[in-house]
């Protein structure tokens, strides 16, 4: 009985080509958001790497621990400023901590950021202290920030996946591992810039190769998924987002190739880091651009359902 009231006439042809079909609103986020996506995933994974090193052998990996904590603290501070800068009402940024909502990845992420940042700052401040008590505080904060750092590095993928924007929504299971692996690769490369001992270099070189490879594989999986479901044109395959995406894939490949070289010269390590940063930023900008294109793309119209 009710079906009779609720079924649309299916036979009429859909001719609305001459209208500009505006379906979803475009994301209003500015440049500072993709930059934060990069900084957040790098910082979160750096804190996690520091905690892993601390657990394995805190004395042997002391340089890694202090550098990773420092990189993490700096990136999170800068990232927080960038996020506040993006708000329509920056003076109300503290409203982000007014409630805690599991249904909102942005709320969960705000709390992760607000807890991890002070912890990793404490850890960074007490990395090289001679005081036993302060060192202990540093280790505990390092453990806390290391554990919280992992979801902090990847929640942004869940955040993009939990939207109505078709290209983000259909990538929702691949975005968190993509952000985690990309951030971890960048973190491993950044830590290698400083002077490290043999054990430290060995561990970080392996991690760098592993995470860059994981990033590349995830990118290829995402490309394949979009191509299979939606063809070769559209967000992340053509247009501005397509170009940025190709740049990101190319730079990740280049970064992986650099890893096969012996990391002897400092110049070489810096080149690797720069490749990683530019590639990581291209990746995040490609995704934001793709979201903007996807929201206004009539071809994506039907794909709001489960995919």
């Amino acid at each position: 009985m009710t079906e009779d009231f609720l079924s649309a006439p299916p036979e009429s042809p859909l001719v609305i080509s001459e209208r500009s079909v505006t379906v979803l609103k475009q994301p209003v986020w500015i440049w500072s958001v993709p930059v934060y996506f990069y900084l957040g995933s790098t910082a979160g994974t750096a804190a996690a790497l520091a905690f892993a090193a601390q657990t394995a052998d805190a004395y042997r990996f002391r340089n890694v621990i202090s550098k990773a904590r420092g990189i993490s603290a700096g990136s999170l501070l800068l990232g927080s400023v960038l996020l506040i800068h993006d708000l329509g009402r920056p003076s109300r940024f503290l409203n982000m901590l007014r409630v805690f909502k599991l249904s909102s990845p942005m709320s969960v992420g705000s709390w992760l950021l607000a807890t991890t940042t002070p912890l990793v700052m404490l850890a960074a401040a007490f990395s090289n202290t001679s005081s036993r008590v302060l060192h202990r505080i540093g280790s505990l904060s390092g453990a806390g920030s290391g554990v919280l750092g992992l979801p902090l590095a990847g929640y942004t993928g869940v955040l993009l996946g939990t939207t109505a924007v078709p290209v983000w929504k259909s990538s929702r299971t691949l975005l968190p591992p993509l952000f985690l692996s990309s951030g971890a690769a960048s973190a491993a490369e950044l830590i290698q810039i400083s002077s490290l001992n043999i054990s430290e270099l060995k561990a970080l070189a392996r991690l760098g190769v592993f995470f860059r490879s994981a990033e590349l594989i995830t990118m290829l999986l995402l490309s394949r998924k979009l191509r299979k479901n939606r063809g070769s044109s559209g967000p992340l395959r053509s247009g501005a987002s397509g170009k940025l995406w190709k740049a990101a894939v190319g730079l990740a490949l280049g970064g992986l190739w650099f890893h096969s070289w012996k990391p002897t010269s400092r110049r070489m390590r810096i080149l690797k880091v720069v490749t990683g940063i530019v590639g990581g930023l291209s990746l995040r900008f490609a995704l934001l651009e793709a979201g903007k294109e996807s929201a206004r793309n009539p071809g994506e119209f039907e794909s709001q359902g489960k995919s």
Partner: protein
């Protein structure tokens, strides 16, 4: 006392495109103009719902014959619809809002508290209908309030109050639904077989508190055929995050442990 659920039933078969609802809404809610653009798109220069347009009359010139909507010669129909925020029973914007600015009111409507909103923009991409948007001049997100201020004073929302054809009907949801079902049956009897209700028993939103009687496929009216609150699918993304995080942590630990062991033996 149990509050009643209030909402809109917009019967597009009765809309004459007078735009009184748009005007009344702007006037009551003191919304600025949208820039006086010329869209070259039928009699519609408003184009879409926005942060400063909370009712929008869509003009659709359809090159097909639709019962009761035909005019002129040949197969041509006018489709008119006054669009509005759907006040979804499971609302993407409300679930996404990180500040708790977007709330469900005692009337079951979805309301943005302007004194809380910090303009993060997350609700904008969480709305499957593309309704809510941010005002560039004030930085906050805005949309239809179901005239929350008028409801609290026992008044009808401005658009429904002013609608001259009762295309926009306001009232208690269950009563509106019963009326809408009768209206569809009546239209079917008259030979308007195309008529159906949009937004009732809709799985992805658990139903709309502002639902519609339509005469063509939802896409023709720029409405999604299968809208879903995005949070209904986020569990798979969280799961993926925790698996990836576990793999990352284990790999890092293994790498540092093995490097430590190798050096220890040298």
């Amino acid at each position: 006392m149990e509050q009643e659920r209030l909402g809109f039933f917009t019967d597009t078969s009765l809309c004459i495109g007078c735009k009184a609802c748009e005007v009344a809404c702007k006037q009551w809610n003191q919304l600025p103009d949208d820039g006086m653009i010329f869209s070259a798109n039928s009699y519609d220069n408003t184009v879409e719902l926005s942060a400063t347009t909370w009712r929008h009359v869509t003009f659709i010139e359809r090159p097909v014959a639709i019962s009761g909507q035909q005019s002129g010669l040949g197969e041509f129909s006018w489709l008119l619809m006054s669009d509005v925020c759907k006040h979804c029973r499971t609302a993407g914007c409300l679930e996404a809002c990180p500040t708790g600015s977007i709330i469900r009111t005692e009337f079951d409507s979805v309301y943005v508290q302007p004194d809380i909103c910090n303009g993060c923009g997350y609700c904008i991409v969480a709305c499957p209908f593309g309704v809510i948007d941010r005002r560039s001049d004030d930085g906050r997100a805005w949309k239809c309030t179901l005239c929350y201020d008028r409801l609290r004073a026992d008044m009808t929302p401005a658009c429904a109050q002013v609608c001259p054809t009762e295309s926009i009907q306001f009232g208690e949801i269950d009563a509106l639904l019963a009326r809408a079902r009768r209206r569809v049956a009546e239209l079917h009897d008259r030979g308007v077989k195309e008529a159906y209700l949009y937004g009732v028993e809709q799985e992805g939103t658990d139903g709309l508190n502002a639902f519609f009687l339509l005469l063509d496929r939802p896409e023709v009216y720029q409405l999604p055929s299968n809208p879903r609150a995005p949070q209904k699918e986020s569990a798979s993304a969280w799961k993926s995050l925790f698996i990836a995080a576990a793999v990352l942590g284990a790999t890092a630990l293994a790498a540092f442990n093995s490097a430590s062991r190798e050096e220890g033996h040298d």
